[in-house]
Symmetry: D2
Subunit: 337 residues, 4 copies
């Protein structure tokens, strides 16, 4: 950390800052500019709280030098984390393809969807049994019955199951049925939930909050990693902006910008990222071209009857066609799918 002193800071204030910092067990290093004096803080097993320093008399502001996440950083682990899922290693050369409906709605629907995405080339099945919905009057998911149907779909197709968990007390139940625990965008900073999934052995798919920075996403991953679970996959799913033609703004920059900082796999969800099935294909192709390690795509056998997210779901035949185009782009950049 660097401490920038006020233009008018007195020598006494400067001494008090130095004394306090050194009293916390750090060394300091002084740099006298023409308009500002700067105190470098050296030694950092654990960073000083910038709030405390900034409240001291004579301090203008502080500047952080090191990233606040550690376990998630490339500094800590330069080689990529590979998350094993049913024979595939997510984060490796092959791009993962997780597809299925937004919600599990019925036995018929989830089995039809599972077979369709399997046949088209998906590597895992997605589907929600517990659904976070903005309105208390909307369909909230089938709950346990939905989990049982997902397990049946896995048995029939061999596809591993990715499904959302919404509360700490649900984790052990969901973990009995799911192969991957998904933490949704609205829960990215539900720290009790992060700790709960961090205490399992299941891979976790952590979605970026719709108004969370990449750094906050990495800090939420850090919660999970620091509980001892190393299998975290990040997922860009669109952020909230002023634009209204699309439901969210898919932040394609996040793919290279996260990969420049972390060894964790980075996935992309173009269905939520756009909110309109007409745009899903273009953005899915873009995500693969940008280097995403996997895709989450909503596919529904009858989108016009979907109880949630019908507007952004692809029909199975369009999805099958898209997979071919995704494969061509993956191969053009030296990967497979």
């Amino acid at each position: 950390m660097i401490i920038v002193m006020d233009k008018d800071a007195t020598p006494e204030q400067l001494q008090a800052v130095i004394a306090w910092v050194e009293g916390q067990g750090y060394r300091t290093h002084l740099s006298q500019g023409e308009e500002r004096t700067i105190v470098g803080v050296v030694g950092n097993d654990r960073p000083l709280d910038h709030n405390q320093v900034e409240r001291m008399a004579g301090v203008e502001r502080t500047v952080r030098i090191l990233a606040p996440y550690k376990l998630a950083s490339l500094d800590m682990q330069p080689e990529p984390t590979l998350v094993p899922l049913n024979g595939l290693k997510i984060g490796d050369k092959q791009v993962a393809l997780i597809a299925g409906p937004c919600s599990v709605e019925s036995r018929e629907q989830i089995l039809e969807a599972a077979h369709a995405v399997k046949e088209a080339g998906a590597t895992a099945l997605r589907g929600g049994a517990f659904k976070p919905r903005t309105s208390p009057y909307s369909f909230q998911g089938l709950g346990l019955a939905g989990l049982e149907l997902l397990a049946e779909a896995r048995e029939q197709t061999g596809l591993p199951v990715v499904t959302e968990v919404m509360a700490p007390e649900q984790v052990s139940l969901v973990a009995q049925y799911a192969d991957v625990l998904q933490v949704g965008a609205r829960n990215m900073q539900n720290y009790n939930l992060l700790r709960a999934v961090g205490s399992t052995n299941h891979p976790v798919l952590l979605k970026r909050g719709m108004m969370s920075t990449m750094e906050e996403l990495l800090m939420s991953a850090e919660y999970i990693l620091s509980c001892g679970n190393p299998s975290v996959m990040l997922c860009e799913r669109g952020i909230r902006t002023f634009e209204t033609y699309t439901r969210n703004t898919f932040d394609v920059n996040a793919i290279p910008a996260l990969k420049a900082r972390t060894h964790l796999p980075v996935l992309a969800d173009p269905s939520h990222g756009t909110g309109h099935w007409e745009y899903v294909e273009s953005v899915a192709l873009a995500a693969v071209a940008a280097g995403a390690d996997g895709l989450l795509i909503e596919v529904h056998p009858h989108p016009e009857q979907a109880l949630s997210d019908g507007l952004q779901s692809l029909k199975p035949e369009r999805f099958a066609d898209l997979v071919k185009r995704l494969r061509a782009v993956a191969e053009a950049i030296g990967r497979s799918l």
Copy 2:
């Protein structure tokens, strides 16, 4: 709801849409423009899911006519909800003043803070025992011990206690100690938590998510109300924007815009809304002038030693001075404080 058909929709597509809508138990009303045909949907105990309609062939988009919240709306209850708190009725003429430190840190700190804010004129004490923190390495709160200290501070000062609850399984514990259950900004869409506090008899202080629209805030209030708890207070605490000079952007517009839609009290938190104690006073005065029913202000006896949010906390003496100025502004607009 209104359904706008595509420019090129066929008569068959139009008939299919009408048939489907009427099959759901609604009446329709057709309006033939020169470039678009519009189908009005009449009858709405429960609104049609726009996603389903928008996926039908020939439909361009739908337009919602009614607000998605009901219990929270002025349509449902034109007179203001008054939330009783220790003799005060929040939502009435007197502006509530909830003050105290971000976190309970020690017995000495919380008692000193409680006495100071009481003396300055506060009507309730705030302080966190469970703290949602971006970093797993930051101070996470004293937990149960913090709740016990808050109860002791209440006993000494007579101030009711407002404190945050972070997870459904904590609700019954926190409710034993707190007078008001606070749902924090990061948990505004933690629906399991909303249902849990909605099942208590305690007043709930619901903070707007930093990434949430006013409508989403009202929908989250609707979750609580629909569980049978009528005592919900909304709180504007700053939203996330592109601006970097302040930690958040306090949305003062939200005060009149929420009051134009809901009967629930609207409070303001200028400490989080700005993130800098130097700006808290101006924005607190602004919030009262704009019609806020109460304020949450962070006050710490020694901000430079605070374990969280020291940068945005006022010292007791500044707070005492601010209260006088707040009172003058409250009286200038015909209220008291």
Copy 3:
């Protein structure tokens, strides 16, 4: 347009609205719902001003049915506009590649850059002679001397020149030297400038404002088109969000979402869209995969000496390598480059 009346609107207010609308030469169409009455407005050579209607007593709000742009819309012209540029038709199967430095800095620099991008496969040269800079103390461009150097670079390489024009009174001068007139992001709503470039015969490259909606971009294109110049190219270059790891957030959704509405070519600028050369390659590949009709890429022979935007400029050898990868992705989606 549709007019939604207040829940409590009186029959007299409704009649007054109908009378006023019909007095403006429109027909109306009434739809009586259970909670709201809706007035459809039929006939629209020119739309009613929603502000005027919304101020009438008893009116809750209005809803627009038709897009506010006309000449730019697919309704008006379903087939794509092809903008001819030195033998290439932008908007057709081949992806255009416009590359060069942010600013023209010296004869040596622009000639070296021009030869390098030509050799790597660029189809046009970019470079700024007039530069909009946030600070009055930053390099403001070489002006006329820069235009002359661009002309010399064109003569040597055969590459057409794309350069920015900042003010109406500069248009005729810049048009003497440039093949394409660029309107920069900060000037997207400089209407005097839009009219000035709309009165020339030069193709115009219109960049999206960093906080402008796609609809505002289309409206700004409409200004140019309505002045009689049909050769407008749109360019997504990143929007401003809360994210800080990147300079802007490249809105890849805009590529399919604009193409769903307009016949104008849509280009992408990953250099400004990311602000970091390390991310430019991923996002350039993504833009091509998403269907962009062309790319603008900053290339500088010596980025570390650049007077502007050095941080987001590629070196010529990286650019040459990128072109090969872009070509592979373009071919994977059935285009060329």
Copy 4:
């Protein structure tokens, strides 16, 4: 400036950076941390371009220590700038009140408005003759005829006139008629226009762009100041966010945050800041309570007939009532109005 070296920077890279910086005429100061080496740059008549440094091998990033604006800063001038306007000194104890219609529409309208706001207590008249409109099909203002009508209104009422100038070539014309030149939000970064108004002796009212940070606003003020015109007033008028209940989000934080940095007066425009007349009053009161030096309020004798912004305009009688309440709040905080 501070230069943070990469974790893996070699001693040669560090030496190259130091040599380059010193070659530019600065001194350097080295601070060796445990994980990063930091180079302080001392001496700054004119700051180093961070882009250039950040492109050097071994450099991770740079950190700016000093604000990029100088003439606008409190460092340069600690006492407030007072802008004289018809006997009033804007920036002093009395809050200025600039009111009138969005556009000059007719002789009758502007004269009626001028007399009404004068009588209610306004200190200046606002009204647009040249109007920046999103659509080329909207009313674009009366131009010269509008300026003449404003001059007539001034003659009749004695109110000085504030009106917008949209292009450099209009400045001398508008300056013949106006007392204050307004630069609108869309033109805040139209640098040719900033230089043109900076070359006059007229006070300039500079509105914050809806997409602009406070720092960019200060940099645009710096353009005007650096051309020799010291009479610049800043105006917060709402920024663009994700919220949709209001047209813009009025950033009340900007009032104290700008005043903590600059000596220039800070005004507020609650009409554009909210976009709805129903919210204008609350936000106007808030702005005064927060310390604004003046208000811009849209008042129209017949808002339902307004050719622009009718939705956010107050009727004269409401405005007159508001002035009394504004005065009470101003006096409550020790100012007058």
